[in-house]
Structure formats: C-alpha cells, structure tokens
Amino acid sequence: MSEVQIPSAYVAPKGRSLFEPHRIFLMLVFAGLIFCVAWFMRWDWLPRYQDRLIYGIGQTLLMLFSTAIVGFLLAVPLGLVQVTGPKPLALLARGFCTLIRGTPLLLQLWLLYYGVGSLFAQFPEIRSSFLWPYLRQAWPYGFTALMISFAAYEGEVMRGAFAGVPRGELEAARAFGMGRFTLFRRIWLPRAIHRALPTLTGETVLQLKSTPLVATVTVVDVYAIISRVRQETYLTYEPLLLLALIYLCLTGILVYAFRLLENRIPTKGV
C-alpha cells in the first residue's frame, strides 16, 4: 500500500484511454472469457425465445417508465408537504415514506397482490364493476407496488430538494409579485427538480433493478421470460448470464441517457 496521493494542481498527462497496455490485456482476457462462455455453454435455445425476450424487455421498460413517471408525480407533493404542508399532512407523508422505505418491496408486492387483491374479490360490488377486468390481472398490483416504492424514495429526495432551494430566490420571486402558484410552478418546482436531477439517475437505476420482482406475481417481464427458459431448458447459468447482461445494458443506456440530459442543464453551483 503506497501513501495516499495528495491531489495537486498538476496532474501528469495520465492516459485514460481504453488502449493502455494493461487494459488491452484485460480486454483480451475478457474476450477469451466471453468466447468460452459462448462456445462451451448452450445457447441453442436463444432463437426460439428471441421474440419473447424482446417482448419481455419491452414490458420491463414499460413497467420502469410508467412507474417512475407516475411515482415521480406522486413524489412531488410528498416532498412538498413535508417541507411546507400543514403539520398533520407533513407527518402523514413522512410516515408513508418511512413505512415504505422500511419494509421490503417484495413483501409489499405480495401484500398487495395476495392480501389486498384477494380481499377485493370478496365484494360482489367490486367483482361486477368495470374495474374488475383490471383488478383480476397482475400488472395493476405490480405497477402500484413499484410506483409507491418509487414515490416514497423519490419523495425523500424531493423533500431535500425543496428544502434546499435558497430562500432568497423564493423571496425574489415574491418581491416581483409572483402569486403562490406561479412561484411554485416557475421557480420552486423547477429549481427543486434541477437539484434532484443528479440523484434521479441513481434512483431510476434502482427502480430498474426492482422491476423483476413483479415476475413473482405472474407479471410477464424479461425476468419472467428468462425464468421460463430456465424451467423449460433446465439450464442453470446460461439464461441467468444473459439476463444479467440484458440488465447491465439497460442500466448502461439509462445512465448514458441521463448524462446527456444532465449535460444540457448546467448544474454547477446548484
């Protein structure tokens, strides 16, 4: 272990390129590894499942974006009332966030689907209502659980973001005659979102990583498709490795997309 390097003004022109000798060596090792995986493992099932896999990826992304967007819309009031809301409402929101963040998502999902879902069925009014065709399916429960979870985690982030907007900027808006709603719409909210943006990337990746849980309540996403492959082919590793690769790619794309978005809005000093 060498001594801790003191960060200094002068940084030697250190190649961060992909093509340093040791990187080339590592890449060769990885290429070899991938070749072994491709060559010695069984991949003949891939063409048969190709269409379903693409469908599954689509479902996963649909689940991700729908829950993230709706969850975020919910997170805004959750964060806001904790900062300015009347005391009872603030406590309620705080309790909600603690409750959701304090219990595993898997348990919440099962509670919703097997617990609450089966309660619905006991009421003939619900069974005969127009809602029933939806309530008897699995995705509304998966959607709700994921959405609530995102709302709770992001609500906490938004709370910090709302509270962190400098008071002076709000005061300036007031001094120029903005009404409460205009102030919220034009200054407070956009400024808070601006502050929350960097954490949003991380939260969205976490959300992506939570989506496979819905497969445990019969929602068909890419994880469910891979489970089916595992059960039908009795292969242990190949489908799981492919699945890991798929999620890794999705994460990479997400992070990249968010970075593009962030670069469009300078966040220096925010």
């Binding site: 272990m1 060498s2 001594e3 801790v4 003191i6 960060p7 340093e20 040791h22 990187r23 060596f25 590592l26 603690t98 409750l99 963040r101 304090g102 219990t103 595993p104 998502l105 898997l106 348990l107 919440q108 099962w110 509670l111 097997y114 617990g115 609450v116 089966s118 309660l119 990746v205 992506l208 990583k209 939570s210 989506t211 496979p212 849980l213 445990t216 994880y223 242990t236 590793y237 799981l240 490795l241 699945l243 890991a244 999620y247 890794l248 994460t251 990479g252």
Partner: protein, 240 residues
Amino acid sequence: MDATLHLLSLTSPGWGGVLLGGLVASLQVAFGGYLLGLLIGTGGAAGKLWGGPILRDLLEVYTTVVRGVPELVLILILYYAGTDAVNQLMALAGLPSVDISGLAAGIFVIGVVQGAYSTEVLRGAILSIPPGQIEAARAYGMSPLLALRRVTLPAMLPFALPGLSNLWLIATKDTALLAVVGFAELTLVTRQAAGTTKAYMTFFLAAGVLYLGITLVSNLVIRAIEKRALRGMTRPGGAA
C-alpha cells in the same frame, strides 16, 4: 382478520414462533452479509485508491456489474454459481465436496452485493478527508500503515457513516430476496404460513411490522452510534 390473530401466537398451532425463526435467520444473514460486505468494501476501496491499474480496473468491473444488475438476478447467479465454484475447487484440491448451508450461501450472496456498495462508500469517504490531515501525519513521520490506522480510517468515519447506515438498512431488506432461492428467512416463512393458513393479510402485515421494527430500531442505534462516533468532531451546524 381478528379471527386470524391467534395464528400469530408463539406456540403451535400459532405460527409466531416460525415467523420469529425467520426473523432471526434474516437478521443473521443481514448481519453476516453486512460484515462480509464491509470486509470486501475495505479491501475494494483500498484497491481502488492505491492498487495497481489492473486491480483498479477489475474492481471497477466488479462494482459496475453488481450495481447494474438486479439483486434478484445476482442472488440467483451467486447462489448456484458460488456454491458450485466452491465445490469444484474442493474437487480440484482433492477434498470431498462441502456442504454449504443456506445461511452461508445467503451471507455470501448478500456480502458480495454489499461489498460493491461498501467499496464506493468507503472510497468516497476517504477521498473526502481534507488532504492536509493525512499530510500532517506524514510530516510527523508516521509510516503509511500507522497513518492509515491512526488518521485515515478514523477521520473517514464521519463521511462514511451515513452511507454505511444506509447499506445496513438495504441489507436487512435484501434478505427478503433470498426467498426466491428457498432460504427460510422471514419473507419465505411468511409466505409458507400464509399459504398454509390462507390468512394472507394477517401474516404479510405481521411480517411488515417486523421489518419496520428492524428499520426503526436500526435507526435508533445508528443515531446513537453517529452521536458517539461524531461526538465533538463537528460543531453543531457549523463547518467541520
């Protein structure tokens, strides 16, 4: 639901004892996995900061993969591949295959996942130490190891504590995912109890209360630890 409350009693035919057993199993895995993760994280952070280029790149791959793949998938892969690999190694060494208990496998799996996150938390914390603190240690003739032990590690603590507390809470909840590999932790025994008795709501709510209890108690303990560890180190509300 009131009618099913007796199902929670601690002795048979109540399932309370089984739930508590699951809770203990969950806590064991969470604790073991967390400690293992800290161990990996300490090594990982040291490697990322002071290691050679190859080690650094490999650690980067490790943390990127673990943080980009759902825990559920990692758990499945590690659960099968991890024990498989151990047994293959044992076979290579000419030893009989060992019996890897669900507990050990669970700790291993959670530990590997936690390790990646700990690596980042600890690395970030070490980088947050004002460089002058470490420079002063060098200026007074401390050897690198002594400086690490006496200055770097303790000075890092205030920066690492929030992240490490968070990781502990994540560890307790990630144990629920071991249900998918049939490890009898709290979530799985809850499902078994619910399935057998059909009292789904009762058991899921009971498990929820137990998990929430863990979180709330943990929060209290964390706050106490933070208060002790940071005692005096920062001026209340002021700059450190």
